[in-house]
């Protein structure tokens, strides 16, 4: 497409009061020879938009540069189909943060004009990546309540579903329950178990193919084209799928580890799973002598919220004990249930259930810490508690004790299994000539378990240390997302949750699975760049196969061929551009975002011999909105700064720094997300990667006789906008105290 440029300058929102827009227009018309350049009192108004549209149809303008507000504002207004649109942010970055009418302010606005025009010059219309054939079937792993609900969600929406269940029948834990928690308002009375009905629906659904006694043997491929091997009844079956829902569920925490609560020592100390079995079989009797248990004590957090066992809250146990206390009361109106809790946690609307159970005169509740469970002389049990609401250390006598044991996800690899695999991995590494580090822990996702992905980065989902083996990616802003595009985790494998929560989760995940195959078919990225049709294009001729991109890709999108040359499995890609930053050869670029684009933008800036010039690279997800927020606050910013947005600070390519500094820029501040597991980074660890790359830069700067302090990375979260003025001032002062960049003269 031959570009015809049009520059439109908005005078509204106090822009015209701050800068001389006529002089600003000269940057476009004189410096850049832009044929169409117009200004308007309010570009986003209907007449302003008509002005642009008129030029598009009348003058053939197809590349529009809007010099007005932040690209985060008026997004809908400035969309012109078929056109490349770039925004020069002269409202937030100039009009709202600078002193009106000064030379510095004018120079700043003019530089934003140059940056915008240069960006537009280096931007090209996207050509979406399309698979030859997109499979839109959904593979669901796990036939419990989550898996079944997901399967029904997708199947009812018209998608074919393959459901793989490990055990001999569908239903999972939910099917084993005597009764279930209420699932709708008023959330008061127990309900008969409805899982049977769900099983029937799934089994008879024409869109669902069920495999029981089956396991995943292998998942190869990528969203839209997964090749799945299913091992069932000793044979291996092949299937294709477009996306995957991981609903592998949970297992109860091993109560044998809870001997401090009497489990294993006294047969009348049972788990909540055993309690369901007892209740299903009739009266509430105790194991030791089959006598009716008329006083049943429930010990909450049995293993959960305990650093020695499960450090997290298992979420379902309080509700389960309240439900089971109701069993005790239902079966015998003279029986009593004592619920001994650390904190009563009944997520969501289940507060109403708690209230209703609490209202039963025979269900007694107290907060307290159980200090011991011992046997009485007559074969009953004493429970000792401290820190109770009753105001003292108390001892309660009960006929039976139910331990509210917690949840462990089926994705969790036990420590001893991990150790065995570590030995195997180290041996393999030695054979291939590597030097294994016996102290380096093996990442659990390297051990094949549930998904058995054929991915270079490992067969399972990379997890978080803080997720304790749950398939929760903490993938920001959307719960079902994992770090494997197209694979969505739902239910108790993702987070501990109750049945109703699992069902909601399941439907959410099935919607995401559908969205994924549909987006894949149309060549769109999925969350968080869900609108994006561009993708990383690699100039393989220049690739040196260093594999940095394959290592750093947060989504395992880059594999390598037999010769070791990396290549993108494009539908796995989320378009973050981490690979673009990682590549030392600068061969990875997007149609509308490239190494050359940013370098050219830096070069386009006016760098006078005197006066500080600073560049701020800002992550568009957090740092850039923080800058906008600062502007809305009308805070003053040093006019030396020119801010340039990037998709993620993981885009940082060292070439940019070299280009900027050799152009005479005095300093660069890199505004990225906070490091660490509890990250906010949309692309997992972009700013950490940038920081690692910077480490390698310091030496180069030394060689150029430049102070390494000229480049500074700042970890920022969006709500830190109020700290930005200080951060920016400090940096400009630090750099201002240095000699001007000696390259200014060149």
């Amino acid at each position: 497409m031959e570009k015809k440029y049009g520059v439109y300058i908005c005078k509204g929102c106090s822009i015209a009061d701050t800068v001389d827009t006529e002089k600003l227009a000269e940057v476009a018309t004189k410096e850049h020879q832009i044929p169409v350049c117009k200004s308007h009192d309010a570009l986003c108004s209907p007449s302003g938009l008509d002005l642009i549209k008129g030029d598009i149809s009348g003058e053939g303008v197809n590349t529009v540069i809007v010099a007005a507000c932040s690209p985060r504002a008026k997004h809908r207004e400035f969309i012109f189909p078929g056109c490349i649109v770039e925004r020069a942010n002269i409202r937030e970055f100039v009009a709202w943060t600078q002193e009106p009418g000064t030379e510095d302010t004018q120079a700043l606005a003019e530089d934003y004009m140059r940056l915008g025009i240069t960006k537009a010059k280096n931007s090209f219309p996207p050509e979406p990546f399309l698979l030859e054939e997109t499979n839109k079937d959904v593979l669901v792993i796990g036939g419990g309540i989550t898996g079944m609900t997901s399967a029904l969600g997708a199947a009812d929406a018209g998608y074919k579903v393959i459901l793989v269940e490990k055990s001999g029948e569908l239903g999972g834990w939910a099917a084993k329950m005597h009764k279930q928690l209420p699932q709708s308002y008023p959330f008061e009375a127990l309900e008969e178990n409805t899982v049977k009905r769900t099983i029937d629906k799934v089994s008879s659904h024409s869109n669902i193919k069920v495999y029981t006694s089956a396991e995943i043997e292998k998942i190869a491929g990528f969203p839209g084209q997964y090749d799945v091997s299913i091992k069932t009844n000793g044979t291996s079956e092949q299937a294709k799928a477009g996306s995957v829902i991981l609903a592998a569920g949970w297992r109860p925490y091993d109560a044998n580890k809870l001997d401090h609560l009497g489990y294993g020592k006294n047969p009348n100390v049972i788990t909540n799973v055993q309690m369901e079995e007892i209740a299903s079989s009739g009266r509430i009797t105790r194991p030791s002598d089959g006598k009716e248990a008329k006083r049943v004590a429930f010990i909450q957090c049995a293993g959960s919220r305990d650093a020695a066992h499960l450090p997290y809250c298992s979420s379902y146990c309080c509700l389960t004990s309240l439900k089971q206390a109701a069993y005790v009361r239902e079966k015998n109106p003279n029986a009593m249930a004592y619920v001994l809790y650390k904190d009563m946690r009944t997520p969501g609307q289940y507060e109403l259930f708690y209230k209703s159970i609490q209202n039963d005169p025979g269900i007694m509740l107290t907060k307290g810490e159980v200090t011991g469970v011992s046997e009485t002389q007559n074969g009953n049990l004493f429970i000792d508690l401290k820190d109770t609401l009753l105001g003292e250390n108390i001892r309660i006598e009960a006929d039976m004790v139910v331990l509210a044991t917690g949840m462990e996800p089926n994705t969790k690899i036990d420590a001893d299994v991990l150790k065995e695999w570590k030995v195997k991995f180290d041996e393999k590494l030695k054979e291939s000539g590597g030097k294994p580090d016996p102290n380096a822990p093996l990442e659990p996702h390297k051990v094949p378990n549930v998904l058995k992905l054929e991915y270079r980065q490992g067969p399972e989902l990379p997890g978080l240390e803080e997720a304790y083996g749950f398939a929760d990616s903490n993938y920001i802003c959307f719960q079902y997302e994992t770090r494997r595009t197209g694979i969505f985790a739902a239910g108790s494998v993702r987070q501990p949750m109750h049945m109703l929560g699992s069902m909601e989760d399941a439907l959410g995940a099935s919607m995401k699975a559908i969205q994924c195959v549909e987006a894949t078919e149309k060549g769109y990225s999925i969350h968080p760049r869900a609108w994006d049709q561009t993708y990383p294009e690699v100039n393989l001729q220049k690739c040196t196969s260093c594999k940095r991109c394959t290592e750093e890709c947060p989504f395992g999108a880059i594999e390598e061929d037999a010769k070791g040359t990396p290549f993108h499995k494009m539908t796995r890609c989320r378009r973050c551009g981490t690979c673009l930053g990682s590549c030392p050869e600068r061969v990875i670029n997007f149609k509308d975002f490239s190494i050359n684009m940013i370098s050219s933008m830096f070069k386009s800036m006016d760098v006078p011999e005197e006066g500080l010039r600073l560049i701020g690279l800002a992550c568009e997800n957090d740092a850039y909105p923080a800058l906008d927020a600062l502007a809305m606050n009308r805070d003053r910013v040093n006019p030396a700064f020119r801010f340039v947005p990037v998709r993620c600070l993981g885009n940082l390519n060292l070439a940019w720094i070299a280009d900027a500094l050799s152009r005479g820029i005095d300093g660069m501040i890199l505004l990225g997300c906070k490091f660490g597991e509890n990250y906010q980074c949309h692309f997992v660890r972009g700013s950490e990667l940038a920081s690692e790359r910077l480490g390698k830069l310091q030496e180069t700067l030394g060689r150029l006789m430049l102070e390494p302090e000229r480049v500074k990375l700042v970890q920022l979260s969006i709500q830190d906008y109020d700290k930005l003025p200080e951060i920016l001032n400090d940096f400009s002062e630090e750099v201002g105290e240095m000699e001007p960049n000696p390259f200014k003269e060149f």
């Binding site: 004592y338 105001g391 003292e392 250390n393 309660i396």
Partner: protein, 379 residues
């Protein structure tokens, strides 16, 4: 770790408290807002939070010799602020009923008096009894001519029947207080204190309704209770003057004197106060029904008896002046039945708080708990 107390949850006790007007008992989730907003509670180990959980668990023995449930004046500030609608004020009222049962012998009478289904019975029995006795005395019936109530029930009759009834009521109450006092000493591990000073201080508190004054949301309870309280005092003085004139000084009955004399004045003031007080009590219960609860049966029974005493008394007077003999004597009979019921049910109805609350307030001073709490408040 101190020695653990073995708790013995008693489901029946929980059910009793619920039945006695504590329906909302189980709603409490122990946030302790009640103890924070209560202006009457001591600072250390404040009520009613702890009483709520003890009652939820059916820990009956915790209420043995517990002065705190009686320190509560049921201002209902707690109930107004309770985020769960657990109405601690009402629940404590129900617990107090259980305490009355524990200390006013025989316990069965507490149940009988406060059983909704037996409401007619508890008035029919004294009515029949009085009718019988009056028949024996030969005065039962409507007397022609000027209405003179001593024609219906002679002063001697009143002395012979009502004095023992009052003494009975007082004696049961005093014995209950004795038992309660011992239990309080034991439960709170108090050996000795200044009894005389405590009694005087308590009397002062009661006379000025000092505790009631601190109520927030139902401040009118202070007024209504004060009115009813002093109506009893006034009516008591009027009666005492009668006793003084007739029995001690051997003079003519003062009840026929003119309106300027002390006996009449006290009587009239008492009548107005008792009516005003009970009407105020009733209206405030209806007004605050949604927020504070309308009160239990046991609560209403006392208001009913007191109201009947006041109303029938005032009507008797008016009807006497009006000379409507055919109505005056039956109304007077109702008045006698109501007063008689008030006396004999004194330790069994809610009126028993006269004994136990006074005792608890006194004990709170005797044990030094109140002083300690005030000291803490000032620091």
């Amino acid at each position: 770790m101190s020695e653990a107390t073995v708790v013995k949850p008693d489901l029946d006790f929980v059910k009793e408290v619920i039945a006695a007007g504590g329906e909302s008992l189980k709603k409490c989730y122990q946030c302790a807002t009640c103890s924070v907003v209560c202006n009457v509670t001591p600072d250390e180990n404040p009520f009613p939070r702890k009483e709520m959980v003890w009652a939820q668990w059916g820990l009956k023995e915790k209420f043995q010799g517990n002065p705190d449930v009686w320190l509560c004046h049921q201002c209902n500030d707690c109930t107004a602020y309770c985020p769960r609608g657990a109405k601690p004020g009402e629940v404590l009222g129900a617990i107090r009923k259980q305490a009355i049962k524990q200390y006013s012998a025989p316990a069965a009478l507490v149940d009988i008096v406060n059983n909704k289904k037996l409401l007619p019975l508890i008035f029919i029995v004294p009515a029949v009894l009085l009718a019988l006795l009056l028949s024996v005395a030969g005065t039962f019936g409507i007397h022609e001519g000027e209405v003179v109530y001593s024609k219906f029930a002679s002063i001697l009759f009143l002395q012979v029947v009502f004095t023992p009834a009052l003494i009975f009521g007082l004696a049961v109450g005093v014995l209950g207080v004795k038992k309660f006092w011992d239990d309080m000493k034991k439960a709170n591990n108090v050996q000795s204190g200044d009894l005389k000073a405590s009694i005087i201080a308590t009397a002062k508190d009661i006379a000025g309704h000092q505790k009631f004054k601190t109520c927030d949301v139902s401040g009118d309870r202070y007024t209504s209770h004060l009115l009813v309280f002093y109506s009893f005092v006034a009516l008591g003085i009027a009666t005492a003057l009668g006793v003084l004139y007739i029995d001690i000084l051997g003079l003519e009955s003062p009840f026929g004197f003119g309106y300027g004399t002390p006996v009449k004045l006290f009587g009239l003031i008492g009548a107005v106060a008792i009516l005003a007080g009970t009407i105020l009590m009733m209206s405030s219960r209806f007004k605050n029904e949604e927020k504070l609860g309308a009160g239990s049966y046991y609560d209403w029974l006392l208001i009913g008896i007191v109201g009947t005493v006041g109303l029938s008394g005032a009507l008797s007077w008016l009807l006497r002046l009006g000379g409507a003999a055919s109505v005056a004597y039956p109304v007077y009979f109702i008045h006698l039945v109501a007063v008689f019921s008030l006396f004999i049910y004194l330790p069994y109805s809610k009126l028993a708080h006269l004994f136990y609350r006074s005792a608890a307030m006194c004990f709170n001073k005797y044990s030094g708990r109140e002083a300690q709490s005030q000291g803490a408040g000032q620091s």
